[in-house]
């Protein structure tokens, strides 16, 4: 009887169920989108019940598509959009309001006031994250403060908190009938409530954010979830859970200290494995857990680029200079260089490594010579230079340069961009054959826990190179261009300072 591993990828816009075979080949995919709610400007919510119902549909669907039964599924791994969470009644399983999504910025004011409280330095030290709207703790605090009677119910132990992994595992393992209330370290590391050194909920952080510990799930290593489904398709072992970017790191088999993966979608997410070393960034990066297989965790540094593919979408939808996103490359190739033009897409401030919320985007270097081809180049180059800034920060924090960047995500189809990233980093850029690195990472972790794959080496053998871009750019030219980019970024700071209070 042939056996398989299943991954559930609970993403921001959709939930997918993917079945892999032992060679890490994709056997079946089922997917359902869920609604995004925007009840007020800046608020982003999702219906956790809708997401749960989608899982209920796609798991049997994927099994049918693969033509296999539940008994052929050795293990299930869960991966999910990070920071998004829901609160629910432990006795009825009914959510308290909708899930608050990581993109939600309702806590801007709360975050500003929390930032002035004593102990804020200590908070960053303990959880590894700067205080920002998209981590779970500020939104959880907001819920407790703004939902009538909720804090009392929470303190009585009637309410449970969970990131989406926790919500799905609790439901899959029985819900009100003995569902497991657990999370994995990578998801917990995105809440601002977990201590990076102990990998447990930190009393000081709970105190700071005013969160009663009784609502929180048990934190487990990524491969020690140890649940069994009793609903949807009963009898499948849930052996692993990982946040989506952490799963991508694992799926890319970035197991060595210093290895980096970059996922290029609407934003760009770069994670570097720092091994057993908990690196507290001096260069504007986040410290997080890469994954934890067994006793010791692999730590990671993360640098996020807020605007990558979304700049191409903006170019298409708001400027109308192209009909489809891939055409940006065609347009960019009508010219041989950027013509001296740079675009800094600080649409909602700059993320890593600058962390300047007030910065706003700019187009600089305009002359009568510049045409839409140059602008298209500048759009793609912006993602390249932002990658360079993050990788420079990672190398500086770790004290050693990374030899290669492993990439995935939709933008890897952009040949010009991938070559440009290789050129500005001056290291090879590699794309793996399996594009579904997030789901694959969850499947790997689950299969590893179940003994389906023997060890990390066995997983590494499944990684095959689909494309490799080698750097060819002249060093002098590269450094001159990088200097120009840095000057352009500095101008956005100046703009932020000179604008009226925002």
């Amino acid at each position: 009887m042939q056996r398989f591993v299943m991954a559930i990828d609970q993403g921001t816009t959709s939930t997918r169920c993917i079945v892999f075979d032992q060679n890490a080949r994709l056997v079946a995919v089922a997917q359902r989108e869920h609604r995004q709610y925007h009840p007020r400007p800046g608020w982003v919510e999702q219906d956790a019940v809708e997401i749960w119902r989608n899982v209920d549909r796609i798991v049997p669907q994927a099994l049918r598509q693969a033509g296999i039964g539940a008994e052929q599924v050795v293990a299930m791994g869960i991966t999910n959009q990070r920071e998004t969470f829901v609160l629910w009644d432990r006795h009825t399983g009914v959510p308290v309001g909708r899930a608050i999504v990581w993109e939600d910025i309702r806590t801007e004011e709360l975050v500003a006031s929390l930032g002035k409280q004593p102990g804020i330095e200590e908070v960053r030290d303990r959880c590894g994250l700067p205080l920002a709207t998209y981590f779970s703790a500020p939104s959880l605090r907001w819920m407790l403060d703004n939902t009538a009677g909720l804090r009392a119910r929470a303190e009585r132990g009637d309410v449970l908190f969970g990131t989406m992994d926790t919500w799905l595992i609790w439901n899959l393992t029985g819900g009100v009938n003995g569902g497991l209330h657990v999370t994995d370290v990578t998801n917990a590391s995105r809440t601002m409530l977990m201590n990076l050194s102990t990998r447990q909920w930190d009393p000081m952080l709970l105190e700071f954010f005013g969160v009663p510990s009784v609502v929180l799930p048990e934190i487990r290593p990524s491969t020690e979830i140890s649940g069994v489904t009793t609903r949807v398709v009963p009898g499948i072992s849930i052996t692993a859970a990982l946040g989506d970017q952490h799963a991508a790191l694992f799926g890319q088999t970035c197991f060595e200290k210093g290895s980096i993966k970059g996922t290029y979608g609407t934003g760009g997410f770069l994670l570097m494995n720092t091994g057993d070393e908990l690196v507290r960034s001096k260069h504007g990066l986040l410290t997080t857990i890469g994954y934890q297989i067994g006793g010791e965790p692999a730590y990671a540094l993360e640098g996020s680029i807020a605007v990558a593919g979304s700049l191409v979408q903006w170019f298409r939808d708001n400027l109308g200079l192209i009909h489809s996103a891939p055409e940006i490359e065609t347009l960019a190739r009508t010219v041989k260089d950027n013509g001296g033009c740079y675009i800094v897409p600080a649409f909602s401030g700059l993320f890593a490594p600058h962390w300047l919320a007030q910065a706003r985007g700019l187009v600089v270097g305009l002359t009568s010579y510049i045409n839409k081809g140059h602008l298209a180049r500048a759009v793609l180059e912006a993602t390249g230079w932002q990658t360079r800034e993050v990788v420079d920060a990672m190398n500086a924090d770790l004290g050693a340069p990374t030899p290669v960047l492993k990439v995935d995500g939709g933008m890897t189809a952009d040949h010009l961009l991938m070559q440009f990233i290789a050129d500005v980093l001056d290291i090879p850029v590699q794309r793996p054959l399996v594009a579904e690195t997030v789901s694959l990472g969850a499947a790997y972790a689950a299969g590893l826990a179940a003994g389906y794959w023997p060890d990390l080496e066995g997983l590494r053998r499944n990684w095959h190179l689909a494309a490799r871009w080698n750097p060819v750019m002249d060093a002098k030219y590269r450094e001159a261009e990088y200097a120009n980019w840095k000057r352009a970024v500095e101008l956005t700071f100046a703009w932020a300072r000179s604008s009226p209070s925002t």
Binding site: R25, E327, A413, D414, L433, A435, H464, L465, A467, W469
Partner: protein, 241 residues
């Protein structure tokens, strides 16, 4: 029918169209459905009325952007490489040659060079034969030119090439063994846009003894995988449009 839709309000119901052109309702409906499929006509969701489609605007310009084709086909090309164990290329016609718009390495982790942007000969590769077979102008032009001999098996006679292209059209895929490089073979199948026009080809290439059986014919399992990948890309082009 297109002229009628281009006139006046530009929005017409089925009955109106049939009456104006003196056609039976069923006939008019059939024609409209065909035009809708190739996006020359659009139907308003709310009113059910028909109007001219966006594709008419682009008539005569490029059919499909090369980078768009890469983006749409990348997952299918990866799947084909994983299943066949061979390297995969997607080609489009450019300037009398095959322009490689996408390339996936052979999944054996050997050192390989990314070949995107390379030009391959039309008459000596499977990708090229597919492009020639479905483009009468292109194959006419190829016949008029001298067919360069690259190996001792390259097709150099126009008549022979024509016979091979007829075969390609009949079977829906093209093969080539040691016609481009000694010891190498390739198999390719057509990628179509809605309406059936062939805009590119997807194919595998590798050692001739891996791709072909003892009689030197392309292995049927590999042919099926290539045709399936081409059909999947074709379907994805329909879905997205």
């Amino acid at each position: 029918m297109l002229r009628l839709l281009a006139r006046g309000s530009g929005h017409h119901g089925l009955t109106e169209i049939a009456a104006s052109l003196g056609l039976a309702r069923g006939t008019a409906h059939g024609i409209l459905r065909t035009l809708q499929r190739v996006e020359f006509v659009e139907q308003d969701q709310a009113t059910g009325r028909y109007r001219l489609g966006a594709a008419l605007l682009h008539l005569g310009t490029s059919y499909l952007d090369a980078n768009e084709l890469r983006s749409r086909s990348i997952n299918w090309a990866d799947t084909l490489a994983a299943r066949s164990g061979q390297e995969v290329r997607i080609g489009m016609h450019h300037d009398g040659a095959v322009l490689v718009v996408h390339h996936v390495f052979r999944p054996d982790d050997s050192v390989q060079t990314l070949g995107i942007g390379a030009m391959l000969p039309l008459h000596a590769t499977a990708l090229g034969k597919v492009l020639l077979a479905y483009d009468p102008d292109l194959s006419a032009a190829a016949r008029r030119r001298e067919l360069t001999s690259l190996t001792r098996r390259t097709i150099t006679r126009a008549q022979m090439l024509e016979r091979v292209l007829t075969e390609v059209r009949a079977q829906g895929w093209a093969g080539e063994a040691e016609e481009y490089m000694p010891g190498e073979a390739s198999i390719a199948a057509p990628i179509r846009i809605p309406g059936g026009l062939v805009v590119g080809a997807i194919g595998i290439s590798g050692a001739a003894d891996r791709l072909c059986d003892s009689a030197g014919r392309p292995r049927q399992t590999l042919v099926r995988q290539v045709v399936q990948a081409a059909d999947s890309v074709t379907t994805s082009l329909v879905d997205e449009n």
